[in-house]
């Protein structure tokens, strides 16, 4: 393990109160608990520190989302609705405030990164997830786009305009792409299952950005069944893309549902592959972003493998040279 580095877990007990209604809904509070348990039994258990997040302010939420969506979301939960727009997007009475706290995790993490000059590993152990959320509506269990709100905060609070978001969740982060695809300074890289077979049906390789943002999106769809070998082939492409874009801060959409045992995708990632990804991301952060790397939990639904995969990823981030 790298000398002197701690793992800062940005998390809050309130996250477990976002109630998705039971039944077959896979985005459940136990997801965070299994990750926490796996971390507590890992070789890096002694280096874990908890950082309680602050909620994202209304202005910070509005850095991506429409005000109409904020009103609609808040009104829906306060009026006792059980979902918003689609049964996938289950909510409870507290979901709005918990979602603001989930969006705030990245902001607290960024403050910490800027204070300690990237010395520590920052992982936002948070829910609800965010990468499908669009400016004006929820999608795929996501209400506020945690990664985009964090990117905006890095730009607005610290003036780091060249923010990269790398998303290795099995599903394409349509909301992140929508937010960033027209901008020349930010970039979005996504490894995901091919949109012909997988939710949310976006993330085509041909989509490379729009207008002034042309060339800033790198979609890397994988066919069902793809695993280590296919992912390893992508890593040089991602590194070349970083060389071209020269980002100064890196946000990771860390989803673990590409694991072979996770039924939410047809991908076949192994647990050790997440260590490789962690190591690769550490190197990207070191070589391009002065170690300014923020990881935010997205998907991952097979409880035993979720904890194990997240721990493997952190082990990769912390691995010695």
């Amino acid at each position: 393990m790298r000398h002197g580095s701690s793992l800062i877990l940005v998390t809050d007990p309130a996250y477990s109160r976002h109630d998705t209604g039971g039944g077959e809904h896979p985005e459940i509070p136990e997801r965070l608990q299994v990750i926490r348990d796996a971390f507590d039994h890992s070789p890096f258990a002694q280096s874990i520190h908890i950082l309680l997040p602050r909620p994202a302010s209304r202005a910070e939420l509005l850095s991506f989302h429409d005000e109409a969506w904020l009103f609609r979301f808040e009104e829906a939960v306060l009026s006792g609705r059980t979902y918003v727009d689609h049964p996938d997007n289950q909510v409870c009475y507290e979901s709005y405030s918990i979602a603001t706290l989930s969006a705030g995790a990245g902001l607290s993490g960024i403050d910490r990164i800027e204070q300690d000059a990237g010395q520590d590993i920052i992982f936002c152990l948070t829910r609800p997830p965010g990468h499908h959320a669009e400016a004006n509506h929820p999608l795929g269990f996501c209400f506020f786009n945690n990664c985009v709100i964090a990117a905006r905060y890095w730009q607005n609070r610290y003036g780091r305009n060249r923010v990269a978001v790398l998303d290795f969740d099995a599903h394409h982060g349509n909301g992140i792409q929508s937010a960033l695809e027209s901008e020349p300074d930010t970039c979005y890289i996504s490894i995901h299952e091919h949109p012909s077979f997988s939710y949310p049906g976006t993330g085509w390789e041909e989509e490379r950005g729009l207008g002034a943002g042309k060339g800033t999106v790198l979609n890397l769809p994988l066919p069902p069944g793809a695993g280590e070998e296919q992912v390893r082939r992508l890593l040089p492409k991602i590194r070349s893309f970083f060389e071209e874009m020269q980002p100064e801060a890196l946000i990771i959409g860390a989803g673990f549902d590409a694991h072979v045992e996770d039924e939410m995708s047809g991908l076949a990632f192994s647990t050790p592959l997440y260590t490789e990804l962690g190591r690769f991301i550490f190197e990207l952060g070191r070589d391009f972003c002065s170690n300014r790397v923020l990881s935010i939990l997205e998907g991952g639904y097979h409880l035993p493998r979720l904890g194990e995969s997240a721990a493997a990823y952190i082990a990769g981030l912390l691995k010695d040279d």
């Binding site: 939710y199 066919p223 069902p224």
Partner: protein, 218 residues
């Protein structure tokens, strides 16, 4: 399915008496490749494509001393001299499928859409055809995923699948049955609007059907 809903209405047109130079200038300014030519009453007289215009010009690699003179002459040529006059057309009540067959059989890229008096009311291109089918099949629709099911020949499979979707309260937007070919099995394609596609797959499997997963051969 009607062309009327997918065509570009009131497209940019030119008069047959205008010149090649004017047509080249027009195509340089706009992202289309076909110009319908109409008379003063808007009746279709022909069509020119960027290919027709390129063919009319002398080759850019030609070394002849006459080249500049020939090019100048071409640029002043009336469009009526190079336009296609026997072009295929459709009415607004024709279908996207009609256009598909015409494109396939005639190696053309655009179809003028005419009213009963042969006045031009729109144009339908191969790009419009792709967009129309993309919309029809829901390709790229945000929040959807496609599930492939092996068609076992059960005559009631379609209604059973819809029943499963209703029972599970899953939004389903497309259901398509495709016969077997020499290279593929008979399949049913179901486009569902849910993140939890595995729950849908399990329900379909529980009903006795086989989900087709095209696992990577690499």
């Amino acid at each position: 399915m009607f062309i009327h809903y997918h065509m570009t209405p009131t497209p940019t047109t030119m008069h047959p008496e205008q010149t090649v130079a004017e047509a080249i200038e027009l195509l340089a300014c706009f992202p289309f490749r076909h110009i319908p030519l109409v008379d003063d009453e808007g009746v279709l007289q022909g069509i020119v494509s960027d290919r027709d215009l390129r063919s009319a010009k002398p080759s850019s690699v030609a070394q002849s001393s006459q080249r500049a003179m020939v090019e100048s002459k071409v640029m002043q040529t009336r469009l009526s001299q190079i336009m296609s006059t026997n072009c295929r057309t459709l009415s607004a009540m024709a279908t996207v499928d009609d256009a598909l067959f015409l494109f396939e059989a005639n190696a053309i890229g655009a179809l003028p859409i005419l009213d009963d008096e042969r006045r031009l009311i729109g144009i339908f291109t191969i790009g419009d055809l792709l967009k129309a089918y993309k919309t029809m099949f829901g390709v790229g629709e945000r929040g959807a995923a496609m599930i492939s099911i092996v068609d076992d020949g059960d005559p009631r499979i379609m209604s059973k699948l819809i029943g499963i979707m209703e029972e599970k309260n899953v939004h389903c937007t497309r259901l398509l049955r495709k016969s077997a070919t020499r290279r593929t099995k008979a399949m049913i394609y179901l486009r569902v609007n849910t993140y939890n596609t595995r729950a849908v797959q399990k329900a379909i499997e529980a009903a006795g059907y086989e989900i087709h997963v095209p696992y990577s051969a690499v």
